[in-house]
């Protein structure tokens, strides 16, 4: 991080991102047609008034997922915003300020991570849409798969307004409170410094590969999570051993695990720190659905980890010689 703006960012939480904004065009059939053509959406209620009437609507409606599209700034607005990036504006709204502060922290890239939209009623052609947004959360600095950065959630409320909706920012802020609320969106982004942690990290320590466990690492390289299986009594075992703990047989083969299981136990390592890992470092003992347990790293937010949590293996290629399983939430 080049600068730490934690304090200034915390002050922005709860603030409106700027005065309410009115979409450039009212809900209209040409934009709806462009949308349904692009999406390949053949639902007739978006384009055919007769079909809309048949299902109990008064007219064609906009695809509900177009909600945000009615509030976009368009090409001119995008070019204008891009050209002003990094400059301190005369009037800097909280959202501009947040983005500038995050840029200054070195988190210049952005990716959307979550979008939750609620549609309170369908929107009809001719309706003008206004949107009012609030910065709901800005996270601490997090290490993510993309790089170090901060998450931010913005909540936007969408309203239908008529021609009497004022032009001036203050008038809009007052008038929006009595407008008809038609939808809500929570949008979470990650502002990050791409690959910031990657170059300095030395490679992972190498496992000691023997005749007994070679299948495991070779399997991972081929993208498979293989588990030792006693051909005599059928018991699965991990980590690898020459003989079966249940029947003593030395005969074995392997089965491919689907990688699904639950957290049987876990630890979060804070110290001592080895430079090839990121800390805090969660390590899980996973009870695989096939019926044996395996120790592996967890790609999970440390606060979210719980015994019994459903997880799924992902096989990460760390370099040409080493691939390892890492467990992520089964919900993802």
């Amino acid at each position: 991080m080049t600068q730490d703006h934690s304090h200034s960012l915390a002050e922005l939480v709860g603030q409106s991102t700027g005065p309410p904004w009115v979409g450039l065009d009212p809900v209209n059939e040409p934009m709806i047609r462009h949308w349904v053509e692009a999406m390949g959406d053949a639902n007739p209620i978006y384009v055919d008034a007769g079909a809309a009437l048949e299902v109990g609507l008064e007219s064609v409606i906009a695809p509900p997922t177009m909600l945000q599209a009615w509030s976009m700034v368009g090409l001119t607005g995008t070019l204008e915003r891009d050209s002003q990036r990094g400059q301190v504006k005369e009037i800097e709204h909280p959202n501009d300020r947040m983005m500038r502060l995050l840029d200054e922290e070195g988190f210049t890239s952005v990716v959307a991570t979550n979008c939750e939209q609620e549609y309170l009623r369908p929107l009809k052609p001719g309706e003008r849409i206004a949107v009012s947004s609030v910065i709901e959360t800005i996270s601490d600095v997090k290490k993510t798969g993309l790089g170090v950065g901060r998450f931010s959630t913005t909540r936007s409320d969408f309203y239908v307004v008529d021609d009497s909706f004022p032009e001036d920012p203050e008038g809009r802020t007052n008038a929006i409170t009595s407008a008809e609320h038609v939808g809500t969106m929570r949008f979470r982004i990650l502002k990050f410094a791409p690959g910031a942690q990657a170059p300095t990290m030395p490679p992972r320590p190498r496992p000691a590969i023997t005749q007994d466990n070679e299948y495991f690492y070779e399997g991972l390289k081929a993208g498979k999570l293989l588990i030792q299986h006693c051909t005599e009594c059928g018991t699965l075992r991990h980590p690898s051993l020459p003989g079966c703990g249940a029947c003593g047989s030395l005969e074995w083969d392997t089965v491919e695990s689907a990688g699904a299981g639950e957290i049987y136990s876990f630890v979060v390592v804070h110290y001592p720190q080895v430079p090839s890992f990121e800390y805090p470092l969660p390590i899980g003992l996973i009870a695989l659905d096939e019926g044996t347990r395996i120790v592996a790293n967890l790609d999970l937010d440390v606060d979210s980890i719980a015994i019994g949590m459903r997880v799924q293996a992902r096989i990460d290629k760390l370099d040409d010689e080493l691939s390892l399983p890492i467990f992520i939430s089964a919900a993802s």
């Binding site: 692009a38 959406d41 509900p64 177009m66 991570t113 979008c115 939209q117 549609y119």
Partner: protein, 145 residues
């Protein structure tokens, strides 16, 4: 086109799997139709300059495709009330996104007693993993319309 009725559904019902070819045209047309002119959604050179492999699908298009996947299954009388998604790996051109879904809850519609609310969990996966996972809620009529 017929609409599924609320009583015909049961929790655990799987939606038909649908494959969406992720073409350059879909990515660009979706971005423009949603009035999203960020260069990473239409300009490969600039997308690469910014560290991306290629142009990639914008979130509004993902929302649109998720909505389409679910209403294609219900028919035109299914009205979306909520789309809650989490983004994973990007949708780059020349891939395919495979949608799967399952009914996870059936509820009363507090606004309209003639309709019921269906919650559907969905996932859209491409060759790199899940592009999108989430929950879609929509209302359906209790009787045929």
């Amino acid at each position: 086109m017929k609409t599924r009725t609320f009583p015909s559904l049961s929790v655990g019902e799987k939606l038909p799997t649908v494959s969406i070819p992720i073409t350059r045209t879909l990515i660009v047309a979706g971005a423009v139709a949603s009035r999203d002119y960020q260069d990473v959604h239409h300009d490969s050179d600039l997308a690469k300059e910014r560290g991306s492999k290629d142009i990639f699908m914008n979130i509004l298009t993902t929302n649109g495709l998720v909505g389409r996947y679910v209403t294609d299954w219900t028919g035109p009388g299914g009205f979306l009330s909520r789309v809650d998604i989490r983004l994973g790996v990007p949708n780059y051109p020349d891939d395919t996104m495979v949608f799967t879904g399952e009914v996870i809850a059936l509820r009363d519609d507090e606004v309209d007693p003639a309709r019921g609310v269906v919650d559907v969990s969905i996932a859209g996966a491409n060759t790199m993993g899940n592009h999108v996972v989430g929950t879609v809620s929509l209302t359906l009529p209790k009787q045929e319309v």
